[in-house]
């Protein structure tokens, strides 16, 4: 293995580690996301466990495209709190302005990876504010959670899609 390649592999691990670190720093655990996945998939796969959901969330988070989405989203929220943006953008982001859709489009880059069936679950989780998404929404005024709540919904929707795709026989029995 060349030196160059070696450095790159380390960098990849760093991306995953950094994404997990940022989620934790903002108060979101793998289990929090897995609980939404469990709620989404239990109607189709009654015997599904939280452990299985956690494993699938972790697998979603091992994809580089997903890591880039998570890192960018959370760092925008943090930079907003620190006042790194213009007053206009800061106001839009601090108040999660209703017509601002960049957070939703960024989340789409995560949902899409497991196919378009994730779209429905993403919209649903985001609208009814399942689990930890609701807590994010209730945060204190000095916190900016504009991007992270869509990211959580996207991660949960992606993990649910991954379970559905991986278990065709079970899905087949339950859905038809």
């Amino acid at each position: 293995m060349s030196q160059k390649r070696h450095e790159k592999l380390i960098k990849l691990d760093l991306l995953e580690e950094h994404a997990l670190h940022l989620l934790e720093k903002r108060g979101v655990s793998i289990e929090d996301i897995a609980e939404i996945v469990l709620e989404l998939q239990q109607p189709y796969i009654p015997e599904i466990t939280l452990e299985e959901c956690c494993r699938n969330v972790r697998h979603v988070l091992s994809k580089r495209e997903v890591q880039y989405g998570v890192i960018t989203a959370i760092e925008i929220d943090i930079a907003t709190e620190k006042g790194s943006f213009s007053p206009i953008l800061t106001e839009v982001l601090m108040h999660d302005e209703g017509l601002y859709g960049v957070d939703e489009i960024l989340a789409l880059s995560i949902t899409n990876i497991y196919g378009s069936i994730g779209l429905t679950n993403f919209g649903y989780v985001d609208k009814v504010k399942m689990g930890i998404v609701a807590e994010m929404d209730e945060e204190k005024p000095e916190r900016c959670n504009t991007f992270i709540d869509d990211i959580i919904a996207a991660l949960a929707a992606a993990a649910a899609s991954r379970i559905a795709h991986a278990q065709p026989a079970r899905q087949d029995v339950d859905n038809h």
Copy 2:
């Protein structure tokens, strides 16, 4: 106005008329879709009327991109019932196979036109099967409604986005 241009304008009217005709033929009225819009927007705009929602659905349906989406989607459902596709695709479409996502992606082409805020509403309407969407889902076995239910959800989500975008002052009062 040249003869060529004249013919084209007629053709545009035909597209809209055909899209409306196909919706009606499949048992979906403008009012059915407007009722979903009303339910979506009432929490933000309590004084909104069904008439206003109808007007917005009609406006969404005046866009050519939307007309193409509606026509293609419903004609695929109809062709499926007529046996125009291979046995494999026919089986997938007649049973709205859980992992088939082409219907959702096609609906996205309608939702996107009014910005990404429509995504959340689309996913929600599709998942909880609001209004006429639920009726579509209960249809008889010889009917194929795989594409039309996503199209209805997309039309309702797009009209709701249009109302939200058009009424910034009201939205501002209600959302913050």
Copy 3:
């Protein structure tokens, strides 16, 4: 393995086989698509071979979401030729009307699976009509190739993205 699961596995093989059969029936080989991939990736990975590109195209085609996209797209083209749709939609599809965008949105469901970096390659291949895409465009008047040319561009873009994602060290050396 239960009988049910066994049947499902057979069905999955059938989907892949049917997608490959449809591509071949329309005059498109794995090699045709791989040649576009080769042209796209050679500037970044000079030592890349056609064989490696073929292997990646086949891997893209092993994904169920992709198989559904390919099958739906080509069967719409075929049904159009057979006159299964209304005169209005038939005219739009037989002439690949410039403002019709359903073919592009359907192709997006394939491109997205390997992340949004595929978007750029998809647009480029579709616009400059690389390789077999150009041949599709020159077909005879009784042929409908509205959907298949976007599908080929999407398959090539997805395979190119897969190669880029799988080979970070090489990409790193060549891109920076």
Copy 4:
């Protein structure tokens, strides 16, 4: 007009003004973008003028969804230069890492507004680096242009789609 509504209208003007100001600050004029549009549309509409292209770019920039996209994208580039993000994200953004796709997905929120036909033009402009996009790419090492080049490509593609949609008769004559 209520005081509340009045304030909102001012705020809307501020968003447009801020988006235009940021483009100018980064060295991008309406004309720069219009020149790409002209090159894209001239094969279909030989008599098209730069003035008409400018008018369409300005119209695209009058949409709030577009303004949010432009502002967010350019402010991320600026914040990256100022060192507002973590070392990991800063490195990815300063080098426009080849597999980072958030910039492309954000641009998609602009392109989509005028329908999916914009996708092809977006990918093409981004890949061949037309006009000002190429200049952005050659910038000095202390500059971060990761997001703005995709935004320019998206604005040009959206304006080209707008022209195509608005001029069906002309498009009809030239494309078929």
